[in-house]
């Protein structure tokens, strides 16, 4: 069962996405790029023009109730008056299953997500991670052909998100349908997705495998997400890692090409290094050792020179269609 979606919301969105069974498509992009709108339009919660063929059926011609898509919302939207079990059983019940078998199916899915012992709790009595597990169970229990995950890890503790990400990965590997994952997090895109679709201002800016997109990002936003410096040079893009950047207090005497003057705007630990945000003729990031940071007194407001060796720079075509070859 394949998905061929071309959705348009006038003035806001014009996006085309194709997927094969088993695909996990990550939708990334800055706030307002249209990620959530696209997912809501597929679910039928937002009006859109165009078509969304899923195994030959046009979803847009159907009411939300008939689309048989599973949705996990950013804020979960578990029904507060129902127990976790009844939340998960809600889908099967609404599709006409008797109460008993609906609950049995719900229990099975709560077990798979590791929250069977919370079956009788109300959503208010669940932690964020537990609630998200229940929400995932609720979306999967109806065995949808299309699973839509709208920023499922936003708002969760880092550790909880990490565990859940690994588990979700396992479930998605077993899932025979198509998954669309809206995310802000490069890690989600890189670890869970088979394909990454980058949206920018309501349009597709890049499509590729996670590795391609991470290595040669076409948008500033994704470059930031994956932690790369990307500079435009005509219709070519030049990317280099922040670790390859040399920071000094004075203008380097050597090669004039890859050096920029700027002011430190921020400094924060990043792994073993200190990551500097530098603004100036270019907005760049640079990783330095803590020792170097102290020695050079790299505090916000400090003027610095950045340089990078030409051998550390990857140059590639700036056009979206060229990125995936």
């Amino acid at each position: 069962m394949t998905l061929a979606a071309r959705l348009a919301i006038p003035g806001r969105l014009d996006v085309e996405v194709d997927a094969e069974p088993g695909d996990v498509i990550a939708l990334v992009g800055p706030n307002g790029a249209g990620k959530s709108s696209f997912v809501h339009a597929l679910a039928g919660l937002q009006h859109a023009e165009g078509s969304a063929l899923l195994g030959g059926r046009d979803l847009l011609a159907l009411a939300p109730q008939e689309r048989e898509v599973g949705v996990v919302f950013q804020d979960q939207r578990l029904f507060p008056h129902l127990s976790a079990l009844d939340n998960v059983a809600f889908g099967p019940r609404s599709r006409g299953e008797p109460k008993h078998s609906a609950r049995a199916a719900a229990r099975t899915w709560l077990e798979r997500l590791g929250v069977a012992e919370l079956a009788d709790r109300k959503p208010a009595q669940l932690s964020g991670g537990q609630a998200q597990r229940v929400a995932i169970a609720r979306a999967l229990v109806t065995d949808p052909d299309l699973l839509l995950l709208d920023e499922p890890f936003t708002g969760l503790d880092v550790g909880v998100a990490a565990t859940l990400r690994i588990e979700l990965g396992k479930h998605l590997a077993d899932f025979r349908g198509i998954t669309l994952l809206v995310t802000h997090d490069a890690l989600d895109a890189l670890t869970l997705a088979t394909t990454v679709v980058v949206l920018d201002s309501g349009r597709v800016a890049q499509v590729g495998t996670p590795a391609e997109v991470a290595a040669q990002p076409l948008t500033e936003h994704v470059a930031r997400l994956v932690g790369l410096n990307v500079l435009r040079d005509g219709d070519r893009l030049r990317a280099f890692s922040p670790a390859a950047v040399t920071v000094s207090r004075h203008a380097p005497a050597d090669s004039a090409r890859n050096r920029w003057h700027g002011v430190v705007r921020g400094a924060a630990p990043h792994g073993d290094a200190i990551r500097l945000q530098v603004t100036g003729e270019r907005d760049l990031i640079a990783d330095v050792t803590p020792a170097a940071s102290r020695e050079l007194a790299l505090v916000p407001g400090q003027e610095v020179w950045l340089s990078v060796k030409e051998t550390a720079v990857t140059t590639y075509d700036a056009r979206a269609d060229a990125a995936s070859d």
């Binding site: 679910a43 039928g44 919660l45 009411a63 939300p64 109730q65 008939e66 689309r67 048989e68 898509v69 599973g70 949705v71 919302f73 804020d75 939207r77 029904f79 507060p80 008056h81 809600f90 889908g91 609404s94 599709r95 609720r138 109806t142």
Partner: protein, 265 residues
């Protein structure tokens, strides 16, 4: 409630009008209690007219509340959830009876449901039934004045719970009716209960529309407010005693319901 408020004392500029506000509401009631002769109260309680009227008031208000719920909840849902042409106009018109003087409400009811009214006349010709002078007519008048309160407060409750859960239910395959039954209504239940209490209370105090539309006859159309009004023409003390009884009954019911429903709303 005890001890110092960590945010500091309440400023007098708020406390003074607040106390005034409470005073405006409570002093007249307290004065009425003080002015009532306890013996008159016993007499009034013993009188059959008072007991009939009290029973009629309570039963018609309850009936009016239930009728209002059956027709008002769907209307509130429609206004809160369905974007139809003219919905703003309908919302504005629905609350008009709230600002109508009660007598005008009575005249409007008569124009529609009176013996020669728009609906009343064909109804009388077809069935031989007419609303005026009947207990059903009292319920109708009560519904007319209580319904707007019920509709706008349920609409508010539905709006504040938002349509996000309705959307989630839809993606799970629930029809709109299933969603209404299993999600929308349960989530708005505290607000719906508060709206029912409000409708009941409004209905209990209703007087002008009822007397204009239905007149006043013991056991059939004479509710407590009507009885008090008529009694006042001849015996002010009896009217006072009856008023006190009504006050006690309404306060009793509201307090009983308050802890359960009103606070959570």
């Amino acid at each position: 409630m005890t001890g110092r408020d960590p945010l500091g004392r309440a400023p007098w500029i708020l406390v003074v009008p607040a106390v005034l506000g409470a005073g405006v509401l409570l002093v007249p009631l307290a004065a009425m209690v003080a002015a009532t002769d306890p013996r008159g109260l016993a007499d009034a309680l013993a009188s059959e007219a008072a007991r009939d009227a009290l029973w009629l008031s309570v039963s018609t208000s309850t009936a009016a509340m239930l009728v209002s719920l059956v027709i008002g909840l769907p209307l509130a849902w429609l206004l809160a959830r369905v974007d139809f042409p003219g919905s703003r106009l309908v919302r504005a018109l629905v609350i008009v009876p709230m600002v109508l003087p009660p007598v005008v409400a009575g005249i409007a009811l008569r124009s529609a449901f009176g013996r020669s009214g728009l609906i009343g006349e064909p109804l009388l010709d077809l069935t031989g039934f007419a609303f005026p002078y009947t207990t059903s007519g009292v319920v109708l008048a009560h519904v007319f004045v209580a319904l707007p309160f019920l509709v706008i407060s349920i609409e508010g409750a539905l709006r504040s719970t938002g349509s996000g859960y309705d959307g989630a239910a839809a993606t799970l395959g629930a029809s709109r009716w299933t969603t209404f039954r299993r999600v929308t209504v349960p989530l708005a239940l505290p607000g719906i209960a508060a709206a029912m209490v409000l409708a009941w209370a409004r209905s209990l105090g209703e007087f002008g529309a009822t007397i204009t539309f239905n007149g006043n006859y013991p056991g059939t159309t004479q509710t407590m407010p009507t009885l008090i009004y008529v009694a006042r023409q001849s015996d002010a003390d009896a009217a006072l005693a009856l008023s006190l009884i009504m006050l006690l009954v309404s306060v009793g019911v509201l307090v009983a319901l308050r802890d359960r429903w009103l606070v959570t709303a």
